[in-house]
Symmetry: C2
Subunit: 284 residues, 2 copies
């Protein structure tokens, strides 16, 4: 999905929000804002928005000398979601269609996103997903693939959300215990995206069948770009790729993967022909 | 009021909205967006936001070779408001406090603004202003000044809104028939701001006691900047200055003028310590 011109002001808003969470120094905020505009000025809109966002956030971390601006927020939402783990794990277990409920919860968890300009209410979103239909619902095909796959790539998105991914992954392994799952995290902090530390924090590493791989957060030596030819080729060798969230969708929308996300901006909603706030399970 | 860093993404949104109303050519849209970022890069945030906005819109008009991107919208909203003229003129006449009602309507008319990122409902806004209190209400002082003034400067804001300004000006002249009013318009098109053509279109020129003056729209030879020392000095010679709308407030907020506006962005609302959507009559 190529970058829309609307992404330019949106990325400046992200820049401001992130920078203000690091420093009250307006001079430094302005310096960073101007550097963001320089990145936008030289960016190619043929690339997907996250490619530009990666550069912007790498610049913010470097200029503000802050390795992880969202460190506290990530911990907070991991804890918020972990507090809900038992309740929703139980709900999934008791359901007539456990996989479907686990998918819905994993999609609702995608509301915990600090990369888009929105306020959110996790409990309200969970209630809404449980009481409504998915706007795009390729569940039958998804279930079929899960039952017959031997290998899966699972691209995580946000901290907090990862707890609901854990519930889904556990449910997938109940349905198909032989599956090998490669879980993809960011090789370093960017916004509230999941890193290996978050995966460990919520105990994803204690699930057997799982191995981890890292993709780039925009800094050097943090892994390949998720939409590099090299990494896409690797993922395609798996029987199924599950991609969580808007950023992964924007970066990989042309690939034959399964996308689980909530549409949180006009651009993504329009691309999918759905409304903002809609829940999506789309794949082929 | 100095420029806030939030004005940067907001001005890029304005740039996109205006440019898209002129052309579907994405290449030209991108060129204009990049030029806007160059203006922002070299702008001083010590200036009020409209000073930067004037430069951005002048650049858009020049680059897109379009003298008046909002020509149709301005005519549309002048017509929409003219259709309501008799009704609200009657409402003011029948009221126990005609001046107050005319002020409220003139403030509600300020909702017709294409310079901020909002959708609006004129009828709903008028109903709301008539049934609520002003969030800042210096009416008694305003009325006192009106009754004793001999000369007034009245800075207009938007097309459409001008019809409600006409009702207010007519009411002011009923209260003080000897008053001389200098009405300030833009010397050329910028967004949906009032130009002399709009003033003529709604018949403001047919009110005796009124003369017109122009201020700059960002192009050369369209008049002095509204917040230039020269123009402020001139306005201050009048007994009272009435300033309509957010843009004029942002440009002149430090001056001892009366400001009639609706707060339509967080920055202005915070500055006035009110909520977005609040109606303001503030003066000293």
């Amino acid at each position: 999905m190529k970058t829309n011109l609307n992404c330019f002001p949106c990325l400046l808003n992200q820049t401001l929000k992130t920078t203000r969470s690091i420093t009250d120094d307006e001079g430094l905020q302005l310096t960073i804002l101007k550097k963001a505009m320089k990145i936008l000025d030289s960016a190619s809109i043929e690339h997907p928005p996250p490619t530009i966002a990666d550069q912007v956030h790498a610049m913010i971390r470097k200029t503000a000398n802050c390795n992880d601006p969202y460190e506290e927020i990530k911990k907070k939402y991991n804890d918020v979601a972990l507090d809900k783990y038992s309740k929703y794990k139980g709900l999934v277990a008791e359901s007539d269609d456990s996989l479907k409920i686990a998918i819905k919860l994993a999609i609702a968890g995608n509301i915990i996103d600090f990369g888009v300009d929105h306020k959110f209410d996790l409990d309200e979103t969970i209630e809404r997903v449980l009481s409504s239909e998915l706007a795009i619902d390729d569940y039958n095909l998804f279930r079929e693939k899960i039952l017959h796959a031997k290998t899966i790539y699972y691209l995580l998105d946000n901290s907090g959300e990862i707890v609901f991914d854990k519930i889904l992954i556990e449910q997938i392994l109940l349905q198909n215990p032989e599956l090998k799952i490669t879980v993809v995290v960011k090789g370093g902090p960017i916004i509230n995206d999941v890193t290996i530390e978050d995966a460990y924090y919520v105990g994803l590493d204690r699930i057997s069948n799982i191995t981890f791989e890292s993709v780039s957060n925009g800094d050097e030596n943090t892994g390949p770009q998720r939409n590099s030819d090299e990494f896409i080729k690797k993922m395609k060798k798996a029987d199924l790729v599950i991609s969580k969230g808007q950023g992964n969708f924007e970066a990989l929308s042309d690939e034959p993967f399964f996308f689980l996300l909530m549409a949180k901006c006009e651009l993504v909603a329009d691309h999918l022909n759905v409304d903002i706030g809609d829940f999506i399970l789309k794949g082929e």
